[in-house]
């Protein structure tokens, strides 16, 4: 039976998983809420709050520990916000059915990087001009490997375009598109797994924020759902933010891929039912 207490407890788990994987958590929470009898549109609107809470709650740790890279995040946010605004506008004119399939197909490419992301991170030997000009590099101390990891970003432009796509999908489908962002950062921009998921966490809050007024106007924001969801996801995300660096890349990647498989199934199902 769903009430404010059980929703709060459920949200703790979702915030924890969301903060470790770099996905917003709304994609897990929304279907559960819908199954438990909350009207779907209301669940989607309130899910935006879960994304913002997960993002801020975990980023406070990730930024302080210098795993999330603020410069990379700011650069990529230009693209996701533009995409999110465009997506929210386009969705009024075009049915987003095909996007579900596109999203599912793109998420499947995250498996291509599986072997690489589980083994040790090796920074690319060359860096393109734009990435260098933007100083997109950094280093963090990996508590699990007990070593400092130096990294540099490649293909900033294509990464930016990927984020534009992620923002577009987010705006059109009402999701945070965190898994999409993690995949772009790892496979296109060649960032280490922990930097990708924590930087994604930082960015998704911004993408969700871009949709706030749309949901305020829709009148679907229910305070008795939002309040326990915000409390739970924040607590879960703060806990996740303290644990992530102690876990190995391997554990984190396995968790990420389990979530990605779930998301792919969800997207294909939504796409088919929307046809």
């Amino acid at each position: 039976m769903l009430n404010m207490l059980s929703l709060g407890l459920l949200s703790i788990v979702v915030g924890f998983i969301g903060s470790l994987t770099g996905i917003g958590g709304a994609s897990i929470l929304v279907p559960i809420l819908a199954l438990l009898g909350v009207p779907l549109k209301e669940a989607i609107a309130c899910g935006m709050v879960a994304i913002i809470a997960t993002s801020s709650g975990s980023a406070s740790s990730y930024v302080r520990e210098r795993i999330a890279n603020v410069r990379i995040a700011m650069f990529l946010e230009m693209f996701t916000i533009t995409g999110a605004i465009a997506g929210a506008t386009i969705t009024l004119y075009i049915a987003p059915v095909f996007l579900y399939f596109f999203f599912a197909a793109f998420l499947m490419t995250s498996f291509l990087g599986l072997r690489r992301s589980i083994t040790e991170y090796i920074p690319p030997s060359t860096q393109d001009k734009l990435s260098r000009w933007l100083q997109l590099d950094g280093s963090y101390f990996d508590e699990s490997a007990k070593a400092t990891v130096d990294y540099r970003v490649n293909n900033a432009l294509f990464g930016g375009l990927g984020m534009l796509g992620a923002g577009l999908a987010a705006g059109m489908l009402g999701i945070g598109a965190g898994a999409f962002k993690v995949t772009v950062m790892e496979n296109i921009m060649r960032m280490p797994p922990k930097v990708s998921s924590t930087t994604s966490n930082f960015i998704i809050g911004m993408t969700a924020l871009a949709g706030v007024s749309v949901y305020l106007f829709s009148g679907l924001l229910n305070l008795t759902i939002i309040a326990p969801m915000a409390v739970g996801t924040t607590i879960g995300a703060i806990a996740g933010g303290r644990v992530l660096n102690k876990l190995s890349n391997r554990t984190l990647r396995i968790l990420f891929f389990v979530i990605v498989v779930y998301l792919i199934v969800q997207m294909i199902y939504k796409g088919i039912t929307a046809l």
Binding site: L2, N3, M4, L5, L7, G8, V38, V49, I52, A53, S55, S56, G57, A59, S60, S61, V63, R64, R66, V70, R71, M74, F75, E77, M78, I81, T82, A84, I85, P123, L134, Q135, D137, G138, S139, D150, Y151, R152, M206, L209, A210, V212, S213, V214, L216, F217, S218, G219, L220, L221, N222, L223, T224, I226, A227, P228, A230, V231, T234, I238
Partner: protein, 130 residues
């Protein structure tokens, strides 16, 4: 050693963002918890409601804040606290962008002043639209 050049460059910004985020989320969580306790005590139930008083509808985010500050707690202290918590939750990442903008402006880092200004403008625009 070229990889290490930016390592310590932004530690001031990172600390400031970290503090801002943690203060924002903790404040918002405390307000939400207080709101849940008061609302469930008033209504003698922890149930999720579908009555109109628990729904928010506003033209855009800035008008939401304005009307919240103007009208006070007509729907009871529980609803008021929950709404205040939501506003702080939404404002926190917005303030984070403003903070970054001033940081890069102080550092006279033109590239990132432009980037953060772009993000700030787009974000403000999105919060004005619906």
């Amino acid at each position: 050693m070229t990889l290490k050049k930016t390592i310590d460059k932004d530690s001031g910004l990172e600390k400031a963002i970290s503090y801002l985020l943690i203060i924002g989320v903790v404040l918002s969580v405390l307000l939400e918890i207080a709101g849940i306790i008061i609302l469930s005590r008033d209504l003698h139930s922890l149930a999720i409601r579908e009555s109109s008083s628990v729904f928010i509808q506003e033209h855009d985010f800035f008008r939401f804040i304005y009307n919240f500050l103007r009208t006070g707690h007509g729907d009871g202290a529980g609803i008021w606290l929950m709404t205040a918590g939501l506003i702080i939750l939404i404002l926190t990442p917005f303030l984070r962008v403003i903070l970054s903008f001033f940081y890069f402006a102080l550092k006279k880092d033109r590239k990132y002043v432009f980037i953060t200004a772009f993000v700030l403008l787009a974000l403000t625009l999105s919060l004005l639209l619906h």
